[in-house]
Symmetry: C2
Subunit: 222 residues, 2 copies
Amino acid sequence: MAEDGLQVPAASVARLPLYLRCLEELCANGVATVSSSRLAELAGVNAAKLRKDLSHLGSYGTRGVGYEVINLTHEIQRELGLDEQSPVIVVGLGNLGQALAKHGGFGDRGFPIVALFDVQPDIVGMQIGDLVVAHFDDLAGIVAHYKARTAIISTPADAAQQVTDDVIAAGITSVLNFAPTVVQVGEGVALRQVDLALELQILSYYQPRSDSERDTKLRLSV
Amino acid sequence: MAEDGLQVPAASVARLPLYLRCLEELCANGVATVSSSRLAELAGVNAAKLRKDLSHLGSYGTRGVGYEVINLTHEIQRELGLDEQSPVIVVGLGNLGQALAKHGGFGDRGFPIVALFDVQPDIVGMQIGDLVVAHFDDLAGIVAHYKARTAIISTPADAAQQVTDDVIAAGITSVLNFAPTVVQVGEGVALRQVDLALELQILSYYQPRSDSERDTKLRLSV
DNA sequence: GTGCGATTGTGAACAGAGGCACAAGCTTCT
DNA sequence: AGAAGCTTGTGCCTCTGTTCACAATCGCAC
C-alpha cells in the first residue's frame, strides 16, 4: 500500500518538515545513508512511527540498509510541495513582524519574503533588511506581481481577521497567523495559528507545583 | 466525575489558554455570561469538546445559563497555574530574541521577562526595552535572584542543547525552544518547541496543487 | 408550584494516532 | 550459493481524542 499517498495523515504531515530538517543536517555532515532508528533519534520520535510516516509517501528505504539521505530529502520536499520557491508576504511590522522579516530561516528553506505591508505612517516606507515596507492599500498589485501565495500575519489582534480576508481576496492561499486571536478562513485556504504567549501558558500547567490541592504533577510535554 | 482533575488530557491543556484568551476578550467587552456554543465559536472548536475540556476542571457552568465569564477565567488560570507571575528569561538575542524580549504579550499574561542573555560581545550590554543584555556566564546568579523558572531559547541551532542544559542546571524547569533543532530535557522539565519555518512547510502541503500526480488536495488545517 | 425552554455534563460510539513485533527483503560474508 | 545479520514496511492491538446525543438541571414565566 501507500503507493502514492491518496492522503497523508495530518499528524504525519506535521512531522515531515522535522525529518527534513534532520536530513539536511545529516547531509551537511556528509552522511549518505541513515537508518530509521538513527533519524528517529535525531527527530525525537519513535522509530516505528517515523517509518510509518515515511511509508505514506512510498517505499524509499532499502531493507537491511536504511534511507539514502539525499533521495529521502527530495521525496519529502516533493511531497510537501517544496520543489519550488514559494514567495511570502508579511503583514504587520511591529516587533515580531520585523524580526520575522529579518529572520533568515524562511528564505533558506524556500520561502523568500518578497514584500512587507503595514498601515502605520511611521512604519510604511521603513527599510527592513532588503525590503521597504509598502502600504497595505497596495497589497493586491504586489501580491499579483510576485505571485505570492503565503502570508504571515503579525498585526494586532483586532486587525487580524480583516487583514486575513484582504490577503485571501488578493490571492493568498496559505496563512500563518501570529496575531493572538482566532481567524477564520474559507474553503481552499490553509491556515496555521501560532500564539507565543499561549505556549508559555501551556508550559505553566506542567510546572511542578505543590501549592494547590494537587499533589505532584511532573510530566513531559510533547 | 471530574471532581478535581487527577489528570487533564494533554490535548485539553493545550486548548485551555485559548479559551482563556477568548474569555478575556469577552470580559473586556463587558460580557458576564457565555454559553459553550458561543465560546466554542470564538475559539474555533466544537462545543461538545469545549464542554468536555472544561468538565476536566470541575463543574463551573450553570445548566440553562452558561458559564460566568469571570469565574471561569479564574478557574482556568488556577488550573494552569497562572495565579502568580512567572518570571522568564530569554537566551539568545538575535532578531527573534530581541523581538520576543520587546513583545508585550508575555508580560501582559503573567510572564514578565526579567533577564536577557547572550554571549556575543556586540550584544552583551545592549539595552533592549527596559533590560540590558547580560553575559550567559552570569546565568546562575541572575536566575536564582529572580527565581525564574521559565526560559525562552532563541539561540542558533548549534548552541541550543548546551544552553538548554545550562539553564536547567541553573534551576529552570520550563523551556520554550525557538531554535530550529530538537533539544532533549530530563525528567521534571517541561518543554515545547516552536519552529517558524517548519510551520510554513506544513502549510505548503495543504496548498492546492495540480503539478504532481496528485489531483486536488484542498483541506483545512487545524 | 408547575411547566417550559435552554444549556450543561457525560455515557457511548467512533475516529485517529501510536507502538509492538514480525515477516519480507536487502547486503555481506563464507 | 547459502546462511547470517540488519533494517524496512506493515498488520494488529491499544490508547487517546473527538463527536454525538440525551438525561439532568437550571432559570423564568405564569
